[in-house]
Symmetry: C3
Subunit: 162 residues, 3 copies
């Protein structure tokens, strides 16, 4: 289930992991418990800024929100990489996606595919996860999307020094 | 904590597990990590269709939504059964229910009881779970309810071949 | 990572854990699976009553909601304490906070800090957790905040008799 070298895979996909997004409040970007990493809800921050704000279906469309969900997922992987080696990831277990939705907007799954598909590109079989996608009324900082992750590591994976 | 034969219990309750609902996007219906199964957010699909759409408290009432939550839970069990033997379930750990709610509708717990109570009927003591129920503005495909599960298996439980 | 005596710490902080809030429906306040405790979504109940109702940003402000989130977190710890010894807690793994939000209200992280910060006060390093905070349209009983927890115990932690 493991992928030989995730860093080479990221290079070949042209993906540069972002820096870890500092939490906007009193918590950690990611926490390990046993051989799981729980990643905090990630906003689609790019260099400290939200590239778009507002509600999907009103202020931005599904395609734009798909891109933001992909950004959230990569920010989440950066959070994982801050505490463990991505080569020790054995499974993307769960993706939960919250989509700030205009009234009557029901394409949350297409939005969160932006997170799911990049996990598949990077981790292949090990990237196939369980998922929930829901529409919410408001998100922090008026972000259109928020994504959280649960990731499985090899039991013997070492922690990075923090 | 285990129940002797869940398939006999299902029969005695008159419950036929549905076929696994194909994901509406890029993810798996259920994923195992260690001895836990994470079940994706389940919509109340019946043979590929949503029997009801809209917001609870406006387009349908609490009783109708209770039935939909029960359907979500059974779809979730079908997802578990697609990767493991239900006789290897030792605990329903967590139920999370999202209820698409009309403004001022606050009976989400009564709705999600539709999921909780069928777990108790089937798994008895092992069906007693932790739970969260929240109201959201919109759900995928205009579904009124979405339910996700975390289920514990015997450590030695075998995976079904997929 | 463990804290020497949590009960002494609670005393020194002037915190008296509340009684466990009975579930408003068919589930358990907290459930153990392996060495994790999953705590059900907690409302900010005080002696069986919600001290405030409504939407944050309309019916109450961020500071009032912060206090409610703290109450939710303490109710969650009471639920943990009902099934295990708090001295066996090795990590607060995950906090998920749902904030019933008025349209245009985006300070959910400041609200859920009420839960996060009290975890830090009590558990110090072991209280540093992953977190998601989202805004939702409606919560059970018109509560302004709901918080759920995942808590890690020592592997050898004993269960309380229930």
């Amino acid at each position: 289930m493991t992928v030989s070298d995730i860093h080479a895979t990221l290079d070949s996909l042209g993906i540069t992991l972002p820096k870890v997004v500092p939490p906007v409040a009193s918590y950690q970007p990611a926490v390990r418990s046993g051989n799981h990493v729980y990643v905090s809800g990630q906003l689609p921050m790019v260099e400290g800024e939200l590239p778009k704000k507002g509600k999907v279906g009103a202020d931005l469309d599904t395609d734009a929100a798909y891109d933001l969900a992909r950004t959230c997922a990569l920010n989440g992987l950066a959070a994982v990489a801050s505490i463990a080696d991505l080569n020790d990831v054995t499974k993307i277990v769960k993706v939960t996606g919250f989509v700030a939705s205009a009234p009557g907007y029901n394409d949350q799954p297409k939005v969160i595919n932006g997170a799911s598909e990049v996990m598949g590109e990077i981790f292949q079989e090990a990237g196939k996860h369980a998922r929930a996608a829901v529409g919410v009324s408001e998100l922090p900082l008026d972000a259109p999307v928020e994504v959280e992750l649960i990731v499985e590591l090899k039991a013997e994976a070492k922690n990075h020094l923090v």
